[in-house]
């Protein structure tokens, strides 16, 4: 069995009802059903989860690290985007 023929899957686990699914890692599997079973065996052995999502890694599109300066640095000097930038007048209650 040639492992390189099996696609890579990203695994997301919800640890408790009400919480978000969180990325926990990746694994190889021939299809989605097998990916979920593999995720169950690899990532939930110690009661880590109540729900599993798997997504084929090729379906995940990521930002390019080279774009980091253009993407994220402009936000550095825009402190007015934080609600804490604004002074709340005393007359306003319950904020």
């Amino acid at each position: 069995m040639n492992q390189s023929e099996w696609p890579l899957w990203e695994v997301f686990i919800r640890s408790k009802q009400g919480l978000d699914h969180k990325h926990v890692g990746s694994l190889h599997a021939a299809d989605a059903e097998m990916a979920i079973q593999n995720a169950r065996d690899v990532y939930t052995r110690r009661l880590e989860g109540v729900s599993i999502w798997v997504v084929e890694s090729s379906h995940v599109h990521a930002s390019n690290p080279d774009d980091a300066a253009a993407f994220y640095e402009p936000a550095n000097d825009k402190i007015y985007r934080h609600p804490t930038f604004y002074q709340v007048p005393d007359s306003i209650k319950h904020m």
């Binding site: 069995m1 190889h28 021939a30 059903e33 097998m34 079973q37 593999n38 065996d41 690899v42």
Partner: protein, 262 residues
């Protein structure tokens, strides 16, 4: 945890029940050992872990049965005495579970045959009159449900997979199906306990088991074997040559250093 009061039996029934529970214990232990042999040799990391998980499930189940068997016998033997200090002819597991791992397809076929029986047996046992067996079955049936799902999915993938996987799974079915019949053929002990209504009637389980096999094999595009001559004897201590070698490894430490503890 709330502990149900133990069921009381006559001495004769108690002896029969001891034999039956020992049979279940040996079956789980031997299959656990076979599966544990895959540890570090799985075809991929994910399946290596899956096999080890399943091995540990069976080992846990075996311990529960051995503890109960020791209690039923009442001769002061412990679970360790029963597991480590009995010879091959005293072991009561069916022939299927002692068969060597072979290739991955052979391990999957062996597992699928046993899981199909195991899951349906535990479903019956958990509703049975013996409170101890019912408690063990209730805990194990969830594990068994997963095992059955796992091995069924693999039968489908191997059967309806590549030319190579199909050739291998067909070969495994041809060499292992002959051990399936023993699981549901009651020996003298099982007959007596079934007549007393203490353990599940295998005949009543067969339609559901056959339906599951038919469904999985159909999806796997594999023909269900027909008219196979069934081997038996393991449940009465007549084993294939493989069990002795397995026990040699399993029992090595206790045989070489009697009474050794961690």
């Amino acid at each position: 945890m709330q502990v149900a009061p133990p069921t009381t039996h006559t001495p004769e029934t108690q002896t029969q029940l001891f034999r039956y529970v020992l049979q279940l214990a040996d079956t789980s232990l031997i299959l656990a050992h076979r599966l544990s042999e895959w540890c570090g040799h799985g075809p991929i990391l994910e399946q290596d872990l899956a096999l080890a998980n399943i091995a540990l499930d069976f080992l846990g189940e075996a311990r529960s049965y051995y503890q109960y068997a020791a209690e039923l016998e009442g001769q002061g033997r412990t679970e360790d005495d029963l597991a480590y200090l009995r010879s091959a002819v005293e072991y009561r597991n069916p022939l299927l579970v002692e068969q060597p791992n072979g290739d991955f397809a052979a391990t999957i076929v062996r597992q699928f045959i046993y899981d199909t029986f195991h899951y349906h047996l535990l479903q019956q046992l958990q509703a049975g009159p013996d409170t101890q067996l019912a408690a063990i079955a209730e805990k194990s049936v969830k594990e068994a449900a997963y095992h059955l799902k796992w091995s069924s999915e693999w039968i489908i993938r191997l059967g309806d997979g590549t030319e190579e996987s199909r050739r291998r799974v067909e070969q495994a079915i041809a060499s292992l199906w002959r051990y399936a019949g023993e699981l549901t053929t009651p020996n003298a002990t099982e007959k007596e306990l079934q007549a007393a209504g203490l353990v599940p009637d295998y005949a009543a389980m067969l339609p559901q088991m056959e339906a599951h096999v038919a469904r999985v094999f159909e999806e796997a595009t594999l023909p269900v074997p027909q008219g196979v001559f069934m081997q038996k004897g393991g449940k009465d201590g007549r084993h294939t040559e493989h069990l002795g070698y397995l026990l040699t490894e399993l029992q090595y430490m206790q045989r070489t250093y009697p009474g050794l503890t961690w």
